[in-house]
């Protein structure tokens, strides 16, 4: 597996390629929720990819399909050069469960209340037998605690004896101990106080720089996404409507949905804030049908989901 991973790396292949991912939930014979509908993007090694969109737009579902908590309805997911979207071989499962990790939204709900911090963090190395002795296990956990800014004393605590920010750090340590290539952070900061959010975002950024892992950073708070991401994808109703570098999306946004999202960001300057125009967007009222659109390259890095006519109209307006 390692040889293969290295080969993929040498060939300059992206770490994660998602092509035409669809995740549908059949609710009854007559009704299917299309949570994710034809989403494609790539994440390179060491890249921080921000996935934004309003609540219910399919961000979490995208993340969970990629890490195979769900079985994708259609589409291809390549991770480290391996197709991990279909039936998984034992070796592919191992790849997915070790090299890809997830950080969850709710720092309370994502830690088992009956386990001590040390056992929570050591879960991955327990399952995959990644240590020789109890002492080595403890050392590995303590090193992780230090890395995420917790003290060794926290190892023997229970989750309810920690603060929200501390709990989220435990969640990060649990993912990090596997030395993953890709971390999916699903709204990892949304449930935290604003002051703690900055700490955790800085921690993620620091970790990314030290370990060189890539991060799929799912959020609805655009200012944090702008601060941390290299690339940003905008998701709406299960469709990826715009994709580009942080600069593309924040300074040359074309899609009306992206522009509406951006216009909703409050500005720290009260004079500007007073006259801030808020753009509203309702795709049905605007007569936009995402299934009719195709991906248009606005530049090498900047993609837009639109029909030809829509593209012309929107780029003219921008």
């Amino acid at each position: 597996m390692n040889a293969q991973t290295e080969r993929a790396e040498r060939a300059g292949q992206p770490l994660l390629e998602v092509e035409g991912l669809r995740q549908h939930f059949r609710m009854s014979r007559h009704y299917t929720v299309k949570a994710v509908d034809d989403v494609s993007f790539t994440i390179h090694r060491g890249e921080i990819f921000g996935l934004v969109g309003e609540s219910g737009s399919g961000k979490s579902t995208t993340g969970r399909s990629i890490i195979r908590l769900y079985t994708p309805t259609a589409g291809r997911i390549r991770f480290c050069g391996q197709d991990v979207s279909g039936r998984l071989t034992a070796q592919q499962t191992l790849l997915l469960r070790t090299r890809m990790q997830m950080i969850f939204q709710d720092p309370i709900a994502s830690l088992n209340p009956r386990e001590k911090v040390i056992d929570i963090i050591a879960e991955g190395i327990d399952i995959h037998h990644m240590y020789e002795s109890r002492a080595q296990r403890r050392d590995m956990v303590l090193a992780m605690l230090r890395k995420v800014g917790l003290a060794p004393e926290h190892a023997d605590r229970y989750p309810h004896q920690l603060s929200g920010g501390q709990r989220q750090r435990v969640g990060i340590a649990r993912a990090l101990i596997m030395k993953p290539d890709l971390i999916i952070a699903d709204e990892a900061i949304s449930a935290l106080d604003v002051s703690i959010q900055a700490q955790v975002v800085n921690l993620l950024k620091q970790i990314q720089q030290e370990t060189g892992c890539a991060i799929l950073f799912i959020a609805h708070d655009l200012s944090m996404v702008r601060y941390i991401s290299d690339t940003i994808g905008v998701l709406h109703l299960g469709h990826l409507v715009e994709l580009g570098t942080t600069q593309d999306v924040f300074e040359h946004a074309v899609h009306p949905y992206t522009r509406a999202l951006l216009s909703a960001i409050p500005r720290p300057n009260p004079l500007l804030e007073r006259d801030r125009p808020i753009e509203s967007y309702d795709c049905r009222a605007a007569g936009v049908d995402y299934t009719k659109g195709t991906l248009h390259h606005l530049s090498d890095t900047h993609l837009l989901l639109a029909t030809d006519e829509e593209r012309d109209r929107w780029t003219r307006g921008a």
Partner: protein, 337 residues
Amino acid sequence: MDKQELRLTPEEARLTGLSREEYTDSNFAGHSYLHEILITLFSNRATAISLACIAVIVLMAIFAPILSPYSYREVHSEATNLPMRIPGLEKLGIFDGTRAGVDQYERHGVPDEYHYFGTDNLGRDIWTRVWTGTRISLLIALLAVALDVLIGVTYGMIAGFFGGRADLIMQRVIEVLTGIPNLIIMMLLLLVMEPGIPTICLALAITGWVNMSRIVRAQVLRIKGSEYVLASRTLGSPAMRIILRKILPNTMGQIIITFMFSVPNAIFFEAFLAFIGLGVPIPMASLGTLINDGYKSAMLYPYQVLLPAAVLSVLMLSFNLLGDGLRDAIDPQMRSM
């Protein structure tokens, strides 16, 4: 849009606090989950008293028949229906073995015997019989509830965890089972099989596990979708590890609570079966058969029914109060219910 407005520089980010400060707050350390439960449990007076009552009754059930000079089954036709006689108290004029001013012990020619709870119509010592009966009632209840737990937890765990079609079928089976009045199932079973402790346990468990399985299934469904189970799955946990490490420990509280409420239920049902004549075979005694026997002469010798009934009531009340206290301690959100 002006970029400077939104992007935080590292210096600005630092203003919000160092990202790697080491917190140590020692005031939280120490208490384990179990410790906290015990503290809550014993700070509730009703729970503490009921726990003490249960302890006393269990100790009496174990030791009283051993220490008693009388056997629970030996018939003494000369000393029938003796009233209560307790050493010490007899000097105060109560429980002195007299009825209507006549010392019954002298009259029956056993002036040196002390039957604390008197004797029944066959001259058997009721004190010994009550505690032997308590012993049997507790034994039946515990065995039956242990069976409940074994079947109910396994069934609920499988139905909840694996879900899908298996769950669908398993829930239909339960519906059919609960559709038939459980008294009929019990009575049929008791008529078909030869009477005895195992049969009664089986009869109690055959419908008793349903409640346990429902509670466990509901818990499993709740926990299965929780983020810590998802996190465990993304780490590659096998199903067995998820069940043993995540689901079972988080369901244990509910299992214990249900267990505590099932015990008095089983004691009551056993007594009820005994009362309608489907109890343990004579000369064995359970609280139910004792009440049944005593009830026949309740007008003449009320103590023969009141004493076993009192033990039964205290036992059931204590288990229910203990269950309540445990629920409060284990699952504080349920307190208002």
